[in-house]
């Protein structure tokens, strides 16, 4: 069921400890992101969220497990499939939903859409859909924090296809040469749109090995087991905070949705691990949570989601003068 075990990859996480408040928090975060995206999927056919959406369903454990290690002041960036990353690090829900509707209350006031999220107060400094672009940009965040002798860490998420872009290697090289405080997180769902990994790389190549060859400490592990993600990320991020320079993690995952659009693909396919079901069963089994807690939380989430959608639908489109308002920045330094 777990990629890691299937592929015999090391699981450092087993050595890490999680406590029950953290376990609950992570579980609820996954659940919340799942329910939010399910609602997007449901409402998308109304044709009012008129922008491409790349849902994170199936991959939520990664953003949640990584984010549980972040502190205020840390930075996050992502790419086209960024909903879970944005929400997991605390990105505002109302602004997110409004953004999908293109409203002035959206996180970029409608200018960006699903593929251009930002919430500076949560440290989420931006996502853009050109594959690979934020890898170098995030490396720049780390460059500047190091230059300013600040202690914050930068996390950048990207898919497996981004590792085919030259900018990935260029960034690894530069980050290592200056020992920048950045964690590169590759979500390897072994798919790029409709093209399986095997058609884009020789079968014996492993992304993690290549990253390792840059002398960057690199792990590959299961992205569906949230605590494993948490533990591995903790290990790496602690190292980064200690000044050990850049780290890389490849997380094997499965997207349970079509590449772009609202369609959810069955969770029951053979061999597929749904991070939500898995974690729920584990925590119930281990008696960390009880079903009632979940039921209460589900209701809270539904309420929160309903409000967010209602507000988004009621909100206005940006006023027409916004069309040319911010082509150039006019603020003072």
């Amino acid at each position: 069921m777990s990629f890691m075990k299937d592929k015999g990859l090391a699981d450092l996480s087993l050595k890490k400890e999680v406590n029950s408040p953290l376990q609950k928090k992570m579980f609820f975060d996954i659940l919340r992101i799942r329910r939010i995206e399910e609602e997007i999927s449901r409402q998308y056919s109304d044709q009012e969220m008129r922008c491409p959406v790349h849902l994170s369903i199936g991959q939520e454990a990664i953003g949640v497990g990584v984010s549980a290690n972040l502190k205020p002041g840390d930075y996050v960036m992502s790419g086209h499939r960024s909903h879970a990353h944005y929400l997991a690090c605390g990105g505002n829900l109302d602004k997110f939903i409004a953004e999908l509707y293109g409203k002035e209350t959206g996180c970029t006031n409608g200018l960006g859409g699903s593929m251009h999220l930002i919430d500076k107060s949560a440290g989420f400094l931006g996502s853009v859909p050109i594959i690979g672009s934020t890898i170098s940009i995030a490396t720049g965040l780390a460059f500047e924090t190091k230059r300013r002798k600040k202690s914050n860490v930068t996390v950048v998420y990207f898919g497996d296809s981004a590792t085919e872009e030259g900018v990935f290697y260029e960034s690894l090289n530069f980050a290592k040469s200056l020992n920048l405080p950045i964690l590169y997180v590759c979500e390897n769902n072994e798919m790029s749109v409709e093209t399986p990994f095997s058609k884009r790389r020789h079968q014996q190549q492993k992304i993690v090995d290549i990253a390792n060859s840059f002398n960057i400490e690199s792990l590959c592990s299961d992205g569906q087991i949230c605590e494993g993600v948490y533990g591995n990320a903790k290990y790496l991020i602690e190292g980064i905070r200690c000044g050990e320079g850049p780290k890389f993690i490849e997380l094997m995952t499965t997207k349970l949705v079509e590449h772009c659009g609202p369609k959810i693909i069955g969770m029951e396919s053979e061999g597929v691990c749904d991070p939500l079901t898995y974690y729920k069963e584990k925590l119930l089994n281990d008696k960390i949570i009880i079903q009632k807690d979940i039921d209460v939380y589900e209701m809270d989430i539904q309420e929160e989601i309903k409000k967010a959608f209602d507000k988004a639908k009621k909100a206005k489109f940006p006023s027409r003068d916004k069309l040319k308002a911010n082509i150039f920045y006019k603020g003072e330094k």
Partner: protein, 352 residues
């Protein structure tokens, strides 16, 4: 004999015919052989011609453009597809620094017969990074040919001609053209590169247009005709090479010039057209020429703003009328932010 098909089908036929006629032709691009079939434009081709003619490629736009350049030096005739023009911007070095110059630099001992299909996005929240129109960039580069088809007929005829051309050709394919119906002959034919097409005739004004704007211009000109205003509508078809004779002659006749271009105003190709008219046919203009273009702004994502970003058929009509001294209103007047103008066709339901 008047077979009508969709733009996307016309592209598919051009590729099919080219693969059929010349075994050196190969196709490559992300998604070209997959189930999405590049919006249907490559439907069935991998099955028909096999995986050593029709290739998927990794997300390595720069290397892959270089690889195709190399392949073209030793016999291949690659047709590369970029699902968005923006992705091609990762491959500027191999095309602008290299492909455009190899014939010249090596004094014609070598040449680069490759075609680059760059697809321009519009609507449904494409936003700033999936909708740029940079044909004026490419027309500024000596050694590149730049083709902007408009009608289904030319999508097919110009693509075949581009593939047959022994030089690097930038073939700019506006996504909305895929949804457009029109007459397309079966089998093989070519639309020669470099010769604009006089689509409608009239003596009141000259409307010069290219690519998707030609589709809008046709509607505008039809509307004008209904109001008794007859104009010349010239579809450029290619920006480079460009024989401007027909434009100069038309402006001599009409004295009025409107140039429509689906690109940012400043530094757009319309200014090249206007300048050539001034240089070569000074005095033929009776009024200030008018440029219709996109604003000098990145593309907003929300339809609430995109509705006011793209010029409309009304803009073109109004431009002609204003040259004729007819009063016009704000062309955006009747457009509401909630209007669903961000789709090419009712069949389009997203998500990309």
């Amino acid at each position: 004999m008047n077979r009508k098909i969709l733009g996307r089908e016309a592209v598919q036929e051009a590729l099919d015919v080219s693969l059929q006629r010349d075994k050196d032709v190969i196709l490559i691009g992300q998604g070209v052989p997959d189930a999405t079939q590049t919006y249907g434009t490559t439907a069935g081709l991998v099955d028909k011609y096999g995986t050593d003619r029709v290739y998927e490629m990794p997300l390595s736009e720069s290397a892959m453009a270089g690889v195709m350049l190399g392949a073209s030096l030793v016999g291949a005739r690659p047709v590369m597809t970029f699902a968005r023009l923006e992705f091609f911007l990762l491959a500027i070095d191999p095309i602008i620094n290299q492909a455009a110059k190899w014939c010249y630099m090596f004094n014609a001992q070598t040449h680069v017969p490759m075609t680059l299909r760059l697809i321009i996005g519009r609507g449904w929240g494409q936003g700033a990074q999936h909708s740029q129109s940079l044909h004026s960039w490419f027309a500024h580069i000596p050694g590149l040919k730049v083709v902007l088809p408009a009608t289904p007929y030319d999508l097919k005829g110009l693509l075949i001609a581009s593939i047959e051309d022994p030089n690097p050709v930038i073939f700019i394919e506006h996504r909305w053209l895929h949804y457009n119906h029109g007459h397309v002959p079966e089998g093989y034919y070519k639309t020669p590169l470099g010769i604009p097409n006089l689509i409608r005739k009239g003596d009141k004004a000259t409307v010069v247009s290219s690519g998707y704007m030609t589709i809008e211009s046709i509607k505008a000109v039809n509307n004008l005709n209904k109001q008794g205003i007859e104009v010349d509508l010239i579809d450029l078809r290619t920006l480079s090479p460009l024989d401007d004779t027909i434009i100069l002659e038309s402006v001599k006749k009409t004295g009025n010039l409107v140039v429509c271009d689906h690109a940012s105003l400043t530094g757009g190709f319309s200014s090249e057209i206007i300048t050539r008219v001034c240089e070569k046919s000074f005095g033929s203009l009776k009024n200030s020429p008018i440029r219709i273009s996109l604003p000098d702004s990145p593309t907003p994502t929300t339809r609430g703003l995109a509705n006011y970003f793209y010029p409309t058929v009304k803009h073109i009509e109004n431009a002609v009328k204003s040259l004729l001294g007819i009063k016009t209103e704000d062309p955006f007047k009747d457009i509401k932010p909630t209007d669903k103008l961000d789709i090419p066709d009712q069949s389009f339901k997203g998500p990309f």
